[in-house]
């Protein structure tokens, strides 16, 4: 099996809707959007849902993908022992400190307690998924090469330390940072990591709309196939060069064109008002 096949196989595992990633309790503001009457003006419910997915996805892509990209890059450098100066191998410590700084920046940029809460829950779930679901037990190690075992040991050390830091409340463990770290640890390319991240965001919105009884399961599938695909592609293309600015030198980083930003103030208000709903079935 070559590298590309391995990557495809891991993508299949990650895209499984049964993975315990916590996304099934998140509606990212959709429940609040419906409750506040914003779907009523649309000609039909599926148009309203597609509009929501589109605006939510655009804002989420612009605000989170810079963090996914930078966290992925930091962990890839660690995996490849790159970025070493004066023959000092960058060890888990400096990579962890980079991840913590990205996490801190994300926390200061997501100024909505509901979105922060959901992001932290899902972030930790990603790391748990790695250490419990993707790591290799001794009995399974006979199936892999020594090189793969070595890589895995290094990654497990990093991810375990990150989890520990989160548990000690030394860092937050936001989803885009944890996702970037997880996918890099699994040696998924940055392009595919960004793509899958947005796809999963969109898919969880559609699952939420089914659970809210707004769309049927077949209708949601149609939207996923026909609308979500071009939307995800457009956002991935638009955001491929975005960075947080943290890993780049400040002189050549233009915050306005390349930095993370929120692009949908209405979505921000509705997501923030989630907890005010008299009755609700989601956590965000």
């Amino acid at each position: 099996m070559d590298n590309d096949d391995t990557e495809t196989y891991i993508l299949l595992l990650l895209a499984d809707s049964n993975l315990p990633t916590g996304s099934f309790v998140a509606s990212s503001g959709l429940e609040s959007y419906m409750k506040h009457g914003f779907a009523s003006s649309a000609p039909s419910i599926d148009v309203a849902i597609v509009d929501f997915v589109r605006d939510s996805l655009a804002s989420y892509a612009r605000s989170s993908l810079p963090f996914v990209s930078d966290a992925h890059r930091a962990v890839m450098d660690y995996a490849l022992c790159k970025g070493a100066t004066d023959n000092v191998v960058p060890h888990a410590h400096s990579t962890l400190s980079t991840l913590a700084k990205l996490d801190e920046l994300y926390q200061t940029m997501v100024l909505n307690h509901v979105a922060r809460r959901a992001s932290m829950t899902q972030g930790v779930a990603m790391l748990t998924l790695y250490s419990k679901g993707f790591s290799q037990s001794a009995s399974l190690s006979v199936f892999s090469t020594p090189e793969a075992r070595d890589h895995e040991a290094r990654m497990r050390e990093l991810i375990d330390h990150l989890k520990l830091k989160i548990r000690r409340e030394e860092t937050y463990g936001h989803l885009p940072i944890c996702w970037g770290a997880l996918t890099a640890a699994l040696r998924i390319s940055i392009e595919r990591s960004r793509y899958l991240h947005l796809f999963l965001h969109a898919r969880s919105l559609l699952s939420a709309s089914v659970r809210l009884n707004e769309l049927g399961p077949y209708g949601a599938q149609q939207v996923l196939l026909h609308a979500v695909r071009p939307l995800v592609e457009a956002e991935v293309a638009r955001c491929q060069n975005l960075r947080t600015g943290f890993l780049d030198s400040l002189e050549c980083f233009d915050d306005v064109t390349l930095g993370p930003a929120n692009t949908w103030p209405l979505g921000e208000i509705l997501a923030g008002r989630h907890d005010l709903q008299h009755s609700r079935i989601f956590n965000s």
Binding site: G37, T263, P265, L270, A271
Partner: protein
Amino acid sequence: MQPGGGCITLSLHGARAVFSELSSMYPLKLLSPYVHDRTAIVYLLTYGGGLVGGDEVNLVVNIQPGAQLVILSQGSTKVFKSRPGRRLASVKPFALHFKADANHQSTPIPSTRQNINFHVAQNSTLFLLPEPVTCFRDASYNQYQRFYIEEGGSAVILDWITSGRMSMGEEWAFSHYHSVNEIFHDGKRMAKDVMLLDNEGQGDTLPERTLRQKLLPYSCYAMLVLYGPQLQSVAAEITGRYDQISVFKTRIPDPVLWSLSPMDRARQGLIIRVAGIETEAVKFWLKQTLSGLEEIVGKDVFRRAFT
């Protein structure tokens, strides 16, 4: 000092606020019609009542220990694409025109920029309560505000935008708006709010979705920050009001909608966002919600800020 540059330093002499510095250069203009006890007002004005593409405002504001500075503007900050009389029909010839200018090689459409750095010392308070920004059709606006707050300093920060010149049929018809508000407490970043609104194309394959479609039915969006010890009672009152809200399923969106979140784990600050179908309704909401400020700045100042 460069064109558009400015500096405000407010100090406290005894129990009285005094401007140790208040200077600006065209097109920026600063006016202070009011100083009373430890509180002063400065109006941020621009010649001609607006900013055009290529204009750059760079202002530094220092509030020294114990002083209170209220910053207002007269009418909304209007952002035009270009100077009146030189308006061009489409973007393209304008871009070519600007390529000829050596300073604007990399930016085809010249943006308007406003950068303000605020230094808020201990026991001092900033009240930044301007009128909203109004970007005209095709205008491009970038605003960057940094707030360096020392331990014990406080700030009220209002940053808001309207959909444009409704009387001219313009509704979210500008080309680009980018606004950053970055708040530091003793050098540590507490919040970095970045709002990007633009009408850029989304490729040929997707059906069009304009900024207007994304932001309707609202025509005014505001972001309000309350930070620091001076504002704790105002913040507590607003939080109390917010926690009383209970949302039931409705078919028609509220004319004014707002959300509130604590800024940090220590709850030293609040972030409030407001949307309104009418700008006037948002203004009225702000006046009502911030009525607790009257006690801090006095009746007179409060009236000037919310007329």
